[in-house]
Subunit: 434 residues, 4 copies
């Protein structure tokens, strides 16, 4: 591991100039330089297989050549880069491609809003719109939800450490149990429905419910399709808007383009970001039923909502991957393969993982505690695989391989993961700190 | 104007699919395709001189060739595009360049935080940090301030229409009069200081004060250096952190790299975005004194805080424009030229503008009402010049030409502006709606 | 019923001058003049048996002669009436009596605070103290809780109509299911405990939990002693203060002086009001463990916290009723008698009540809907018995007879109630509107 | 001073049982027993001339014999004591007397609401109503305002120590400068009007403005009639409700029944409490224009809003003092006498008071700091006069003698005050701590 240590001999500019808030670079103490497909390379040329994929922003891999071509061409011919919300040919191409490959085939009637180019901006826009349209304040979110770091999004996010950073009380939100949260001991939505039907419950009638179909940061918690359908039904019956935050799980991560398609529901509002540009470039969308489009011009704006290079790669990605069902099928087909591999790592021997869960190509391998999960990721990094933990205690190793990973890469990553689990358990047994 | 009208014969995808929230595209009903330097071109090749510059995001012009080269090279060689907060060579280069060309020459001790890549994200981070460090909630902002659209930033933004979009009450903020707000009839900070010194005033001790040195969206309101020094002094004496939001006025817009340099003050926290990447790519920074760097790792995070292509162009821009004082001198030198031209357009005849003001290359030409200012911008667009209004009533035509505009371009734009003012007044006189 | 109707021939001063907010007077359209023991008399001398008892403020009956003597003597000899928080002999007498008859026999170490003389003022003080001591904001309350109408208390109150009156969002509160709320299908505190143990739940660590042992306004919902013990245990384990709001259920209403004694728990903070003065005079107390007494002098104050005539009657009441266990025993003994009578009125025939519940001398008779319950109360009024509805839909007839009612009065009231239930059902059957 | 010291030999029940929140009893360390007219007597019979009058609750003196008779009669004949909002003869008598002696002679069209029996309850009701009627949240209050301790009232109260007790941020309020606050250097309402007329000011359109005509707790700050008229005009022009909180200054304290009469304005909402019952008994009213009476029945309620003994004394007080203009004239006539006496105590010698101000029989004598003012009150107490400080630094000795004080009592009190000022200055000079 010499490559890892020699960068730490003198304090780097990261240590002297960058804020203490930095985090991933602490777990992966190398300096990355290049990336293609499923691999990142550090400045010494050492390759790392990437099962993190930009926290879900690189579903089509790094510097995907199909998109790279379009991007380089666009930049070379001086296409508009920064467009605010001006009409541009790049934006038109994107809107047409999105309508043709995403909205029309699914008979989704959504209007498309370009908020600022980040997930939290899309969520802020969604929350504003839901409150504006209904004239109510409360938004219901779920345990272990993650929706972003700006003040509106943070109020519907569960993580206590992130919430503590707000510096002001986080209000206008109410939490409900996500699927499986109470261990199956309570009928779905029993509590929520009681609160809604009882005028003495103290729950002010919510403007909306915001939900992730699979909670990535929250620990790869997978909502059943049936649970989502019940939620959609509850929202309709009780006059609440349903917002699906598909920032991380959209763009094919679970198989279909939208993660909620499997459940057969149509949310009122959908947020997209991360992999929508396809190339890791900042971009976000907020989609909603046309009858909700009550925005005044400019009522929600932002400097970078017209990041046209991102529109170009987004358009290329839609054409490359969503003109047919191939990617979807491949992703769904791989789920079983990953699940088998992960099940092999689970057991009740105190050394193995305790459970695994996932959909499509998002999977979580849960350990007894955060320390064990972190040790696995640390070992995986040493072995050349990038993996991160998630969950309230950091107890879940999260797998987010590029959807475009080859079968070999998938096997390679799963193999390293298996070795990492074994090694971490051995280190633990021999009392050696990793 | 045939080119303008024939696009409206059938509803475009912008009209059918994009949300009603879109705004600039309504004032400029063409589809832009290409851009270089100070000019944008629509899809029919018609050029527009750009005195809007991406709302201040394109200080170095469109597709600046010095930056373009670096960007294309980086992308071509598969540099990391999406880096979260991992260490990358592109980020290291940027941090080093920023330290060498910006921080060290000004003896600024700041730590650098990469929040999400938008101005509002940088502001949210600044507000969080100020509250976290002080343990207080209230942040003081100024009349006609604009700090962003996410919930935390919106609470310190003045615009009533934007605030109304929040859907929840905006709290933990208090407004004070910006410089000149009370027409010079009240000593600077008389009211603010009285509130602070009086334990019965009802103003909870603020965590921080957030200020723009020149309020762009608010109407190109220019704070005097003396006023800023008094504010900095007040903050120090009364134990409040001073946040300068330099998102729009930083990166040389007013001459110096930071807009507060002229006043000789050192804010506790500074936000930067818009022109920091130099190429219109989403990027933002939050700078703060090292003793304030009490963040826990990951306490504020975001998917696109590591937009590495933006780091590449940002580094190139720092090297190209901030290694010496040439750009600064040139910008400062041009201020007088613009001022002279604008003063010629002011008068008390009811047809002219009523006042002008600015610093460096941000200028406002104030009209009696928003209708007149809008008519001027409309006519300027017909004559091939992009200009926008600002101010609480949209009564101020705002000039934000690229800092890299040639002298001829500057003259050309000022000439079109003069004609537009004249034409708009004539149309008004002849009772003709534009 | 002539007496009832002839008052409505000309609009009364109540109708022309008093606000529309008045409510009880609408259900009981007579003008009351006099009251003794268990009876009120209207201005025409018509008696009404009072099973409402000032919403629990008249546990010792109207104008109880034991207290009346003390009050008249005090007033006659010009005792201090209005004392703010000055020390007075009347206050000293009260504090000594409270210590001797209430605190010491129960080994309760409480400090005694005199907030403003109403229940909501005591609750506001309790909430402030809990937040101040813990440095946290969130207070957990229960479904169908009622704690008062001022802004702090209203935020922990469940009733939607009352909450809607706030005019601002009600924050810093979270609702949990009261005992029996989920029909026994969910283990006690499963949801609450999960939220507390999970750092990703989104529930900010609460300062306190506020609970009524029996929810009066909420529909006479009776918490089991075991449930209360589990709650007290949860508060201790999870470092939350336990506030018992005994405003309505304290002072012997459930048998013991404090309603929580039966469960064997010792809350951290207790609020008392309503019957504490014994004579219907405004008075309230906030009790708390001495280590919580971190108030600054005057930090919470109020003009009428020293209502000395109330102290005089309160002292007399403590001596008359709490020097021994007689009242307690009698109240407990009567519970069975009331329950038997109410059970006779329950059935599944669609005409009877659907359930009854209570403790001591607070009982609820639940009907299928609010309309039926209201019809019963209306008929009871015609027959000379004052009864009110409660519960989220007004579906529960609430019995709060004076604890000092004679056996005959109790039987009389239960008899009228039985007739009222029968008559209301008959009217319903014959299609006659009451 | 033996009488004062021997009570402290053993810890009293006040010290061992009562909360540390107690305050007045610390300044006046005796135990009061009896009171008549302008005097209180401690348990040893020592008399104290009362220039505090229950913080303005005893405008007609202690145990006023005219009211005492009515109260004893009412209680003796078992009149209803506790009436919630039932109609009673005592309430009818009060409403009729209030209409005849207060509303009709002044052509005030107000509806009368009985909120809970304390000032803060009346304020909470006023704020709720203003927000409900306008659909807005923000209420503007003034520097050094005092409106009460429950959460809604506290948010519009200026005192930092009281605000700190809230434990949660106090929102939905904005502060404006009270009359004279900026030392006459700023035109009245310049700042407020600018904020209102400017859609970019950041002040959300207020529901209402709440004001005291004379700020008692805030330091006896007297608003000029002209300032109040401008405020009323501003409220009308800018569509904000005007709430006058007349809790302390109403009921004749400034001469007229309402303190705002002198200015010739008609507020939209008025709160009354303190002296309205006339006997120091808890009672409060909220008055408002009939078109604002949009309350739902019971939307704001409270257990003790029907404190009928207070109605009885209130009615007696109205008949005794407000059937003609005698009390008003007498109070107004005495103002000059008090002012002369206080002016004699002012000077710029460093030993005297620095200023005095007041209206009717509320006066403030301002000292250089709170320590000096407190020393004066301490000495006055030793000399048998009860006086309290007010103002943000406790620097103002406040005079609130009963309106019914005789001329001799007034002279006596002013004489003791003069001696106290002299003695306190001497003690200070000789370096002796009081």
């Amino acid at each position: 591991m010499t490559a890892l240590t020699d960068i730490t001999t003198a304090p780097s500019v990261f240590e002297t100039v960058e804020s203490e808030v930095r985090s991933y670079c602490r777990a992966w103490p190398v300096v990355f330089e290049r990336a293609t497909g499923s691999r990142l390379y550090d400045e010494h040329g050492r390759p790392f297989l990437d099962f993190f994929a930009g926290a879900g922003s690189l579903n089509y891999g790094h510097n995907n050549p199909l998109l790279k071509r379009a991007l380089l061409d666009y930049l070379a011919r001086d296409g508009v880069t920064h467009g605010l919300d001006m009409s541009t040919t790049a934006k038109r191409d994107f809107l047409e491609a999105f309508r043709e490959t995403v909205l029309e085939p699914r008979a989704l009637p959504y209007k498309v809003m370009f908020p600022g180019p980040t997930g939290t901006n899309a969520v802020e826009a969604a929350l504003k719109l839901a409150r504006k349209v209904t004239g109510r304040e409360t938004v219901v979110s779920f345990t272990n939800a993650f929706h972003g770091m700006s003040l509106g999004s943070l109020a519907v996010t569960g993580n206590a450490a992130k919430r503590a950073g707000a510096g002001v009380p986080l209000n206008h939100a109410a939490q409900m149990p996500f699927d499986h949260y109470l261990g199956g001991r309570v009928p779905d939505f029993l509590w929520f429905e009681r609160l809604l039907e009882d005028p003495g419950s103290g729950l002010d009638h919510p403007a909306a419910v915001i939900v992730e179909t699979v909670q990535g940061e929250g620990g790869v918690n997978v909502a059943r399709a049936e649970w989502l359908r019940k939620l959609a039904d509850l929202c309709r019956r009780r006059d609440m808007l349903l917002i699906v935050d598909d920032v991380q799980m959209g763009c094919g991560r679970t198989g279909a383009f939208f993660s909620f398609e499997e459940a057969g529901i149509t949310p009122d509002i959908v947020t997209l970001s991360k992999s929508i540009s396809g190339y890791g470039l900042p971009m976000a969308l907020c989609l909603f039923r046309p009858e909700l489009d009550l925005w005044q011009p400019g009522e929600h704006n932002g400097t970078f909502r017209g990041n046209n290079p991102a529109f170009v790669t987004a358009t290329a990605a839609l054409h490359a991957y969503w003109g047919d069902g191939a990617l979807r099928s491949r992703t769904l087909g791989r789920a079983a393969r990953v699940e088998r591999a992960l099940l092999d790592l689970c057991g009740d021997d105190g050394r193995s993982a305790v459970a695994c869960r996932g959909r499509g190509l998002v999977w979580g391998l849960e350990f007894a505690d955060g320390e064990r999960a972190e040790a696995v990721c640390r070992r995986a990094f040493e072995l050349g695989l990038l993996l991160e933990t998630s969950g309230p205690h950091g107890e879940v190793v999260k797998l987010l391989p590029p959807l475009t990973a080859t079968d070999d890469e998938l096997d390679e990553g799963l193999g390293i993961l298996a070795r990492s689990v074994r090694h971490a358990a051995e280190r633990r047994t021999t009392g050696r700190a990793a």
